[in-house]
Amino acid sequence: MKAKIIITPQKAVVDPQGKTVQSALEQMGYKGVAAVHVGKYIEIDLAPGTDKAAAQQALNDAAHKFLSNPIIEDYKLEIE
């Protein structure tokens, strides 16, 4: 079982990386790019036999407290 956590900058936070990637894409000729946001992806391998619901709860806690900073970032957690 794997936990996948996607962390993205909040809309109100200036994202210079996203803006730079966007302008590079535009310079390369890619059309229709309205906005780019650069975030982080964290993959966690869960030990065999881990209870999915318990892992969900624990990782939500970890994502809120540590893996993301709720002042500047949002996260999405998926366990599969």
Partner: protein, 237 residues
């Protein structure tokens, strides 16, 4: 006065801080390793600059969970004076001891240069000895020093006089050109509501002797000494 200077793996301004406090300003200071659980008899704590834990995940995100930070939190809760410089500022925001967050500089560049600072209030243990109206010249060296807080928090910082320093030009004007990293309201340093914890991105410890190009940083440490002396006198009386 006894200063505790924290050391995390990849702190790199710890020695400068010790040198400024001990050799230049004549007070005592000692290193406190990140695995220690106690600050001993420290009167004040310096969380120094550097790249603690390689800046992995986010600057300061891992350092905040080290054992010594539990002791710092307790020390701050008891009213102890804590100052975070550069990475130390990032650690204190991550730890929730200071509001807001520090994100990537708006131009994505690492800035290593001297900047000018306006002190917004002398009503704090970190600014009380800074001459009224004096523009400080201090060095910065960071890639992620852009201060961010939401509107509500910024309003609160202003209302409570928690903004201690703002980036300005040599004449003290708060211009966008004088803002090296895109910080909201040109914020370079703040304190908590209780005014015993402060953080700033510029390096006062690297500007404590004229030979280094500026001795303006001394007045920040002298403010802390004065606040501690006042505290000691009040206790004795």
């Amino acid at each position: 006065m006894n200063f505790a200077v924290l050391q995390f793996p990849a702190s790199n301004c710890d020695q400068d801080a010790i040198h400024a406090i001990r050799d230049v300003l004549g007070h005592s200071a000692r290193y406190v390793w990140h695995k220690e659980n106690s600050l001993g008899d420290a009167d004040a704590v310096i969380v120094p600059g550097g790249f603690s834990y390689g800046d992995y995940l986010r600057c300061g995100a891992i350092a905040r969970f080290s054992p010594v930070m539990q002791a710092v939190k307790q020390f701050a809760d008891n009213g102890g004076l804590v100052i975070g410089i550069c990475n130390g500022f990032q650690v204190l925001t991550e730890a929730g001891l200071l509001p807001g967050a520090l994100v990537r500089n708006r131009d994505l560049k690492f800035h290593c240069e001297h900047i000018f600072l306006k002190t917004d209030t002398t009503d704090s243990p970190f600014t009380n000895k800074i001459p009224e109206g004096k523009i400080l010249k201090l060095p910065i060296a960071h890639g992620e020093g852009c201060y961010f807080a939401d509107e509500e928090m910024l309003t609160k910082l202003k209302a409570n006089n928690q903004i201690l320093w703002q980036y300005c030009d040599a004449e003290g004007n708060l211009t966008d050109a004088a803002n090296p990293n895109g910080s909201l309201l040109n914020i370079a340093g703040i304190c908590n509501e209780r005014r015993n914890v402060a953080g700033l991105m510029p390096h006062p410890e690297r500007a404590s002797e004229e030979i280094l190009g500026s001795a303006d940083g001394r007045s920040i440490f002298e403010s802390v000494f004065a606040a501690l002396e006042k505290k000691t006198t009040a206790k004795a009386a």
